[in-house]
C-alpha cells in the first residue's frame, strides 16, 4: 500500500489535500461550463423575446419597411456598433416553416465571430422570409475564461487556508493520541510501566488508553507472579542445599572420621556444588527469559572484555596458555545489562580455556565492520566435531564422545545474546580449535 507505515497525522493531511485538489479540479472545469450553460439559456430566452418583438414590428410596419419586396436579392441587415447583435431578414429559399437556435460563426466585416443565433422562417404575403437574430458569445467566452482563472486562484487560496486549518485541528485533536504513543514507546519493560492518564476529551482515546493500562496491569501482574515464582523456587531449592552443605561441613569436622569417609563427604560436597551451579544457571536462564534484567546500562564492551580477562587471567597462566588481546582501539558501547554481558564474555572465554590444552593459545580480537562490532575469541584447542556444532548452544546436549560437556555455559551465552539481540557464531575444526564470534549491531 502507498499509505502503509505513515503516521496517521500525515495520512489525514494527505487525504484531505487530495480531496481538496479533486474539488478544485472539478470546480475549475465544471463551474465555468455550468455558468456558460446558464448564460446561453438566458441568451436564448432573450433571443426568443427579440424575435417576438421583431414579429410585432413586422406586423405594425409591414415587411416593406425592411426589405424592398420587388427586389428579390435584397435583404435587410442591421448590426449594432460593436457587432454584438445583429438582425437580418431575407427571402428564404425554403418554403418550410422552421425555428431553431444554434451557436455558430458568422463573417462580419471580414471578421469571424461567434454568435448565438435564432433562425426563423415566416410567411408574409405568400413569400417566405428567413429572420436571423444573432448575439455575440464572445462576452460569455471571456467571462468563462475569467471565471476559470479566478475560481482557480480563489480555490487555491481556500485550499491552503483549509489545509492549514485541518493540520492544526488534527494536530490538536490527535495530540492525546500521540502522547499515548510516545508513552508506549518509552515502555520497554514492566518495571517502567507508566499509568499516567493522558488528558483528552475524545472518548476513543480514553478507551484506547484504558485498554492499554488494563493490559499493562495484567502483564505486570503476570511478570511479578513469575518473578516471585522464580524467587520462591530459588529459595525452596537453595535452602535445602544450604542445609545439606552445612551438615556435611559440620560432619566432616568430626575428627573421629576415617580419611576415606572424609573424602566421601568431600565428594558429596562437590556433587552438591554441581547441583548448586546447575540450579543457579537455570534460575539465571529463567530470569533472563522472564526479562527481569533491565537493558538500561551503557556498556563499553572492550572494558568488559578487559575485566573478564583480569578475572580469568590466573587460569590462563596456570594452564600456561598464551592469550593475545587485540581489541580495536576505537571502542564500542552498547545498551544492555552489564552483569549479563560480563557472564557472556566470561562463559565464552572460560570455555576456550577449558578446551585448550597447556601451551595452547587464545586470541581475543575485535574490529568494526560496516554496521557491526565484531569480537572473536579464537583458540587452538581440541575443537568441536562438525556434527556437534549445531547443538552446542542447546541446553544439556549430551555428546557421545564425552570430550565435551558444555552444560549450560553456552546455552546461557546464547540466551544472553538473544536477549541483547546479538549474534553468536561458532566455527570449529576437530583438533584444530574453535572460533566464537560475537556480532554487535550498531544502532542507526
Amino acid at each position: 500500500m502507498l499509505l502503509s507505515n505513515i503516521k496517521l497525522r500525515t495520512q489525514l493531511a494527505l487525504i484531505n489535500a487530495f480531496s481538496k485538489i479533486l474539488i478544485i479540479i472539478i470546480a475549475v472545469f465544471v463551474l465555468p461550463l455550468t455558468v456558460r450553460e446558464i448564460s446561453i439559456q438566458e441568451m436564448d430566452k432573450q433571443l426568443i423575446d427579440k424575435l417576438d418583438q421583431l414579429y410585432k414590428l413586422l406586423e405594425e410596419n409591414g415587411i416593406e419597411h425592411f426589405i424592398d419586396v420587388q427586389d428579390d436579392a435584397m435583404g435587410y441587415g442591421s448590426y449594432n456598433i460593436l457587432k454584438e447583435e445583429y438582425v437580418s431578414i431575407e427571402v428564404s429559399p425554403d418554403t418550410v416553416l422552421t425555428e431553431y437556435i444554434e451557436s455558430t460563426q458568422r463573417l462580419v466585416d471580414g471578421e469571424v465571430l461567434d454568435y448565438r443565433i435564432i433562425s426563423a422562417t415566416f410567411e408574409y404575403e405568400e413569400y417566405f422570409y428567413l429572420i436571423e437574430i444573432g448575439k455575440s458569445t464572445s462576452a460569455i467566452t471571456l467571462f468563462e475564461k475569467n471565471l476559470k482563472k479566478y475560481t482557480f486562484i480563489f480555490l487555491i487560496f481556500l485550499l491552503s487556508l483549509s489545509v492549514i486549518f485541518d493540520l492544526s485541528v488534527t494536530q490538536i485533536l490527535l495530540r492525546p493520541f500521540y502522547q499515548i504513543i510516545r508513552k508506549l514507546k518509552l515502555i520497554n519493560h514492566p518495571s517502567n510501566f507508566n499509568y499516567a492518564v493522558t488528558k483528552t476529551n475524545t472518548s476513543d482515546f480514553k478507551y484506547l488508553e484504558e485498554s492499554i493500562h488494563h493490559l499493562m496491569r495484567r502483564i505486570e501482574d503476570v511478570f511479578n507472579e513469575e518473578r516471585e515464582y522464580i524467587g520462591n523456587i530459588s529459595h525452596e531449592i537453595l535452602t535445602p542445599i544450604s542445609i545439606i552443605k552445612s551438615k556435611l561441613e559440620n560432619f566432616s569436622d568430626n575428627t573421629n572420621l576415617s580419611h576415606e569417609d572424609t573424602i566421601k563427604i568431600y565428594e558429596t560436597k562437590v556433587t552438591l556444588g554441581r547441583l548448586t551451579k546447575l540450579v543457579r544457571s537455570l534460575l539465571l536462564l529463567s530470569r533472563i527469559e522472564n526479562k527481569e534484567y533491565l537493558l538500561d546500562e551503557t556498556i563499553n564492551i572492550n572494558q568488559v572484555a578487559v575485566n573478564v580477562i583480569d578475572e580469568i587471567k590466573e587460569r590462563i597462566e596456570v594452564k600456561d596458555i598464551s592469550l593475545t588481546e587485540n581489541l580495536s582501539e576505537k571502542e564500542f558501547t552498547l545498551f544492555g545489562n552489564k552483569e549479563l554481558i560480563h557472564i557472556l564474555m566470561y562463559n565464552i572465554l572460560n570455555n576456550a580455556i577449558k578446551y585448550t590444552p597447556g601451551n595452547g593459545s587464545i586470541e581475543l580480537s575485535s574490529k568494526h565492520i560496516n554496521n557491526t562490532y565484531i569480537i572473536e575469541i579464537k583458540d587452538n584447542g581440541i575443537g568441536i566435531a562438525e556434527k556437534h556444532l549445531p547443538y552446542i548452544f542447546e541446553r544439556f546436549k549430551k555428546f557421545e564422545s564425552g570430550t565435551h560437556n558444555f552444560g549450560l555455559g553456552l546455552a546461557l551465552a546464547k540466551t544472553i545474546c538473544n536477549y541483547h539481540q546479538l549474534e553468536i557464531q561458532v566455527e570449529s575444526k576437530l583438533g584444530h580449535g574453535s572460533t566464537f564470534t560475537l556480532i554487535f549491531p550498531k544502532k542507526k
Binding site: G231, L238, I243, S246, K247, N250, Y266, V270
Partner: protein
Amino acid sequence: MRILIIEDEKALADEIEQFLSNAHYQCDKAYNGAIASELLATNPYDFVLLDIGLPDYYGLDLIKEAKSYNADAYFIVITAKGELNDKLKGFEYGADDYLAKPFSLLELHSRIQAITRRKFDHSKAQIQFGKFTIDINKRLFSHENTNIDLTKKEFDILSYLVLNKGRILDRMQLTEHVWGGFYEEDYDSNYIDVHIKNIRKKINQFDNQNWIKTVRGLGYKFDL
C-alpha cells in the same frame, strides 16, 4: 563474641550454631522476625546473621530497627533469592556483608573474622609463622624484612590457610573463598594445586619447612 542467628529454617540455624559454638562464639537463634526483633531490642550482639527471607518480616527492616536503638551489631545478610538487587539493597540498609545460599560455614566464619579484624582487633591482622609475617589488612607477606610478592589469589589462599591453621581446607572451600563461586564450576580443577605449588616455591626460597601440607584427595592444611 555474641551472635544472633536469624533463620527460619531451623535445621540450618542449628548447623550454623553448632559450627560457631565450636569456634567459641555464644549463639542465640531466632526462627522468625518477631522473636528476632525482641532479642535485638534486649541483648547486645556483636554480630547478627540475618536471612532476609523471613515468613513474617521483611528481613532488612530488622537492620533498620536495630540501628534505631543504636545497637552496634554487625549485620551479615543471607539470601537464597540470589538477586543482585538483594545484595545492593542489603548494603543500602546498612548490612556489613552478604552471603548467598548455599554458603560454606567456614566462609561465614571467615567473613565474621574479617569484620572483627577490620572493626575491633587490628592486632589479629598480623600473623607470624617462623620468620614470616602475613598482614591480612595491608595484604603484605614478608620474611623478616623482605617483602615476598604474591599474586592476589596466592595471597587469598595463603591467608585463608593461615587463618584456619590446623584445619583441613578442601579444594572446594578454597575455591569458594577465592573465586566467590558464582560462575565457578570447576571445583575439582587443579587451579588451587598450581597456586599452592607457586606459594610453596616462594616460601621455600627462605626456608625449607613444609608449612602447607597436602591432604590426599581433599585439599590442604596449614601447620604451625
